[in-house]
Amino acid sequence: MNKQIDEEIVQACLRNEAKAQKALYDFFSRTMFAVCLRYCNTHEDAMDVLQEGFIKVFTRLNQFSGKGSLEGWMKRVFINTALEHYRVNKVYQEQSDVEMANDNPVDGYVLEKISQKEIFELLNQLAPGYRTVLNLYAIEGYNHAEIAEMLGISEGTSKSQLSRARSLFAQAYAKRNNIKQGGR
């Protein structure tokens, strides 16, 4: 599933060849920008993280062990950069989800076509802490112990946030579908 980039390009990047760096950027920027967006509150923040992350990638490429895919390593760099970006604000500890409180119960229904962007927007409207845990657990596949360490929270908090995040996401999704169906 991961994209594979030419080993030669990576080697050239290690020699700081500008062309290769551009090639690597072109190859991965779309994927990585999507990662940035998923972990950031605003588009501007995502742009900051994209820049910072790529600079880190190029300056620390020699630290990439070669175990696992380069894409996976890069994703991790970007995720950590994004998390660092918000660490100061301690957004992961306290949550408010008042705006989501009174929603219709979720019905079981068949998933209809929904664009990635729409899903992202649903996910992104969750409070940052919920969104981050859901991102890390569901999409990136980290376990609770890892998430707890990355975010500086307890495992219990990670678990409770995840389950709350899931139900909030499901509600948001259902709401969106109801609106769509009502509009037809």
């Binding site: 920027s29 994927t31 999507a34 994209l50 820049q51 910072e52 600079i55 899903i119 992202f120 499901a170």
Partner: protein, 295 residues
């Protein structure tokens, strides 16, 4: 949708491989950032290189110096006997100061005379220097030298031995001194680098967000107070999105005109996008906000 795994896999399937076009100007900022950090890294590498080159270099010079002195001693010993006595007096005199025991001092005085014991002394001392040098040329010279010389010194059996072991020490000390000096130098460099690099917070620009370009000489330009920069770009847009001003010079301020036309921009709010990189810092920052123009 209700069950947990379903939500997780739904998200993973849809967003796991999600891609979004990165903003078009991102690469510019990144490449600037890389070259900035690369130059910082290369200076760091430079000090590392001087370190790694100079340390062995100092060792080698010390070794060569030692060899020179040994061979000089050997040559002087094996050449004609009459000049030797005079020549040998010189190194012995310096050793007189180094040797703490009075007994050895008297001995060295006696060696100053051109007698048999003096000869044996010189011979031994030169040979001992040679052995000292062998260890110096072997695998890890620098730390060995002082140690190999000093224990011998402490467990000196006789006066001759005492003198022998004293002889190589000045050489070794000079070599050590050189090395110490070298490492001190590099330490100082590292220290100054750390100070300039990490300890201070990144300075922030000051933007005076309101101005009145009416030509009265007061507040006619949009003034920015920028710290020393390695990258700068200021763009100003009207709220309709028209680019009215763009510059890459931090000291070029907007005078309230639309582009190159020279037409006065209307009173109102304008949006600025400021991209900059403070000298010595890695990150290219972007700042945006509103400016109020009043005529």
């Amino acid at each position: 949708m209700a069950d947990k795994e379903h939500i997780d896999s739904f998200l993973k399937e849809n967003l796991g491989n999600w891609e979004v076009d990165a903003p078009p100007d991102a690469w510019l900022a990144i490449s600037k950032g890389i070259s900035a950090s690369a130059s910082a890294a290369s200076t760091a590498a430079g000090t590392a290189v001087t370190k790694s080159v100079l340390l062995p270099f100092a060792k080698i010079t010390a070794a060569l110096l030692g060899i020179g002195i040994t061979s000089f001693a050997l040559v002087t010993y094996f050449s004609d006997s009459t000049p030797i006595e005079k020549e040998n007096n010189q190194p012995l005199k310096t050793e007189e100061v180094l040797i703490p025991e009075t007994e050895s001092r008297s001995e060295s005085k006696s060696t100053a005379e051109p007698t048999e014991p003096a000869r044996t002394y010189v011979k031994k001392s030169s040979s001992s220097t040679k052995t000292g040098l062998v260890s110096l040329n072997s695998t890890n010279p620098e730390p060995d030298l002082g140690k190999s010389a000093k224990p011998e010194n402490g467990g000196a059996a006789g006066i001759h031995d005492e003198i022998q072991t004293k002889k190589p020490e000045p050489i070794l000390n000079t070599s050590k001194n050189q090395v110490d000096k070298e490492s001190e130098d590099t330490k100082e460099e590292e220290g100054s680098e750390n100070q300039s690099g990490g300890q201070f917070d990144e300075p922030k620009p000051i933007i005076h967000t309101a101005f009145s370009p009416d030509g009265d000489g007061v507040n006619d330009e949009l003034v920015l107070e920028m710290p020393p920069l390695s990258f700068f770009r200021m763009r100003i847009f009207s709220l309709k999105g028209q680019l009215v001003f763009e510059t890459d010079k931090p000291n070029q301020f907007w005078k309230g005109q639309i582009g190159q036309s020279g037409l006065p921009a209307e009173t109102g709010n304008y949006r600025f996008i400021l991209d900059y990189q403070v000298k010595g810092f890695e990150k290219v920052r972007s700042q945006t906000g509103l400016i109020f123009l009043a005529r």
